[in-house]
């Protein structure tokens, strides 16, 4: 027997074995990928084990979106495995999508052998060069003894601070070589140590400013969800404690329950009248894990002109980037909110009751405009109606909703009411059409038995339609709820409103027969064209225990309102004709 020196013996194994061991030690259970020449040694190892489940996609972009769906619905890091060259370049859209929405994903790419790098070898590309600006960080591993450390670092970087995608490029010869495995506990990062706890001074300044408010608002974002359940709980507690109205970006939906009296709905370009007007008129804005994106602020110099702003963010570069703030709070928003609650209570702070009553009365007037109203029809399914019915049918089933990008996405944000975080998976920052279906597959893999629905548009769904096969192969019973209007609806809407209704290339001619298409992929295909049949169709869809594709034929020319038109401030919104006092409204 060897003498116990206290130090564990170094385990030697091949690079490919190290990869799998490192993934297992990082808690990875599912990996989304597509094999190819430069990752065959890793796929060979995958074949010889049962702990890690590999989900074979049909396009590498789909693998990244699936990993994003996995990550967003669980709060864990998603994982992708693809080959070199085209395998790696096909992930670029997904990697950029994860960067834009701060989603933790680790993408492992094969690379040609180290001796061939730079020789324009078959399926060679400069993966680290190509992904440098679309990933949070990336690595090219050139020594087998570095593989374990780099993978552990990659997971750490992906999930720490503001999360994001990390690419690890591993040449094929390194996968064959034998080297030492290093467990995660032995790896610490030398430089990347984001500040998570906000300093007490900024917390004090934030609560003092908030307490002085007469018309406060909480403007929340995806940071609340990324921060995790503690942040969500703390947001609810601080909102209850103070009685402040809450709005959220697309990314933050579910961070605050839509059933709350204090919920104003989403803000921004297609946000609610009450949320945008409250943002415009507030005197103290608390931005929590959001980043003053241009879809939120509209015209910058007219954005919430009379408010003092508090900004809680873990990413220092988000602070003062687009909008100058008065009180920056640098740190994890969950911890910061908890500290604010403690400071609020310790100081016995309270908002001015009369002022808050007046503020809520004003919000009540805005709410009464009923900005999401639309003219329903007996003959044709209105897309808003379709989402309302889907919501009614699924609200008690804790459904996970994914979307593609376009009008259907905004209608989902407006008419599907989220009570919990991690229930909406949508491409917010990059606006990637084709995100929804593969993302839903990742959600379903992470949440077996859950109801997972991709609310889709007819143009977007075709950007990753090949993933229908993935669902079938892996028995992932996701539902596609297709709002089919035969247009790229959002493009058509902008052309109508901003380009003289010149509908350049936005009509989708030669649409496939989605029913036949779904069936060809082994899905249960359904079609619904009349409002009277919709509820029954939705019931059948959610009660069928296999992948279901419901082609819901909706009104072709419906527009998504409210809308803040080009270069306008928040108080100049276009409202739908059904809204009270229709037309452009002024506060």
């Amino acid at each position: 027997m060897a003498e116990d020196t206290g130090a564990p013996e170094t385990e030697m194994m091949t690079g490919a074995e190290i990869v799998l061991r490192a993934l297992k030690d990082q808690g990875v259970e599912h990996i989304f990928g597509y094999p190819g020449g430069a990752v065959l040694p890793i796929y060979d190892e995958l074949f010889q084990q049962d702990d890690l489940k590999h989900i074979l996609v049909r396009h590498e972009q789909g693998a990244v979106h699936a990993a994003e769906g996995y990550a967003r619905s669980t709060g864990k890091v998603g994982c992708v495995l693809v080959t070199s060259g085209p395998g790696a370049t096909n992930t670029v859209t997904g990697v950029m999508d994860a960067l834009a929405d701060s989603i933790p994903v680790v993408v492992i790419t094969g690379q040609v052998p180290t001796t061939l790098i730079g020789s324009d070898a078959f399926q060679e590309c400069d993966t680290v060069g190509i992904t440098r600006s679309c990933s949070k960080h990336n690595y090219l591993v050139k020594d087998v003894n570095d593989i374990a450390r780099v993978i552990h670092e990659a997971f750490y970087v992906a999930r720490s601070g503001r999360p994001g995608p990390v690419v690890v490029d591993i040449p094929k010869d390194i996968q064959f070589e034998t080297g030492a495995y290093v467990p995660p506990a032995n790896v610490t990062h030398g430089t990347y140590k984001p500040q998570t706890r906000a300093d007490a001074q900024s917390i004090a300044a934030a609560v003092e400013l908030l307490a002085s408010a007469k018309k406060p608002i909480f403007y929340t974002g995806g940071g609340v969800i990324n921060s995790g359940p503690r942040a969500v709980a703390a947001l609810r507690e601080l909102a209850e404690l103070t009685g402040v109205p809450v709005t959220s970006t697309l990314m933050g939906l579910g961070g605050f329950p839509a059933s709350s009296e204090q919920w104003l709905g989403m803000l921004g370009m297609h946000g609610t009248f009450e949320a945008n007007l409250a943002m415009h008129d507030c005197d103290v804005m608390v931005c929590i894990g959001a980043r003053f994106d241009d879809r939120i602020t509209g015209k910058l110099d007219a954005f919430s002109p009379n408010s003092k702003k508090i900004h809680i963010d873990i990413d220092p570069s988000s602070i003062n980037k687009n909008v100058r703030v008065d009180v920056p709070v640098l740190g994890d928003c969950g911890l910061a909110l908890e500290d604010m609650i403690a400071a609020w209570k310790a100081r016995g702070l309270k908002l001015d009751e009369a002022a808050m009553k007046a503020w809520w009365d004003q919000i009540g007037v805005w709410r009464a405009r009923d900005c999401l109203a639309y003219r329903n029809s007996q003959d044709v399914i209105m897309p808003q109606y379709a989402i309302q019915r889907l919501y009614e049918a699924t609200k008690d089933r804790d459904a996970f909703i994914c979307t593609e990008v376009g009008q259907h996405q905004m209608w989902t944000a407006q008419h599907y009411h989220f009570e919990k975080p991690n229930r909406l998976m949508t491409s917010g920052g990059l606006g990637t059409m084709g995100y929804g279906l593969p993302s839903a597959l990742g959600v379903q893999a992470a949440n077996p038995g859950a109801l997972v629905i991709d609310i889709a548009g007819d143009a977007s769904i075709q950007m990753n339609i090949q993933e229908l096969a993935t669902a079938r192969q892996h028995g992932l019973p996701v539902k596609v709820f297709l709002l089919n209007n035969n247009y790229m609806g959002m493009v058509r809407q902008w052309q109508e409103l901003l380009h003289g209704n010149r509908l350049s290339e936005s009509y989708v001619e030669a649409q496939p027969d989605f029913l036949e298409l779904a069936r060809a992929y082994g899905w249960h295909g359904m079609r619904c064209a009349r409002p009277g049949d919709l509820d029954a169709a939705i019931e059948e869809m959610i009660n069928t225990d296999k992948p279901v594709f419901l082609d819901c034929q909706v009104a072709n020319l419906a527009n998504c309102f409210p809308m803040i038109p080009a270069g306008q401030p928040h108080n100049e919104m276009l409202l739908g004709e059904e809204t009270e006092d229709a037309g452009a409204a002024c506060a």
Partner: protein
Amino acid sequence: MTEEDLSVPPASTYFMVEETDPEERHTLSVVVDNQPGVLARVIGLFTARGYNIEQLTVSEVHHKRGVSRITIVTSATPHVLEQIRSQLRRLVPVHSVADLTLRGEPIERELALVKVRGESESRIEALRLADAFRARVVDANTGSFVFEITGKTRKVDQFISLMKPLGLIEVVRTGIAAISRGPEAMEV
């Protein structure tokens, strides 16, 4: 299509913001892990976000720990400068970022090698000027000199312009290395 439809002017859903504050020239010092691609990351950040790089110098300063120090001279509005600093700090291999200009006027020096055709009278004049500027002769033959000059950018500029009429052949410059005054050091 009706006439009315055509009357709708095309419009963008992006707003345009112009930075109106005057630009300032700042010298930044960035301590990084000396790993492959780190310089590409720093430069890529500047190009991707539309920041200027006027000068850039990089060299390893701590061999054992594999740490390099990059000196960047950039011009931007105060708001953009704040962004540049935070964006640099966000890069994973970056240890620390200091805006040396914000800490008071830093010591800035650069080195130039200046090749001059030195014949007859201009030969003596070039040597005389080099002496005045404390430039060293590092190569000499019957037809030319190479001077090594170190100093502030302005001094090097001046020396080069004086060499022009005397038969300047070519110049190579390092860009500045900069360090703050006083006992404080950058975080490594």
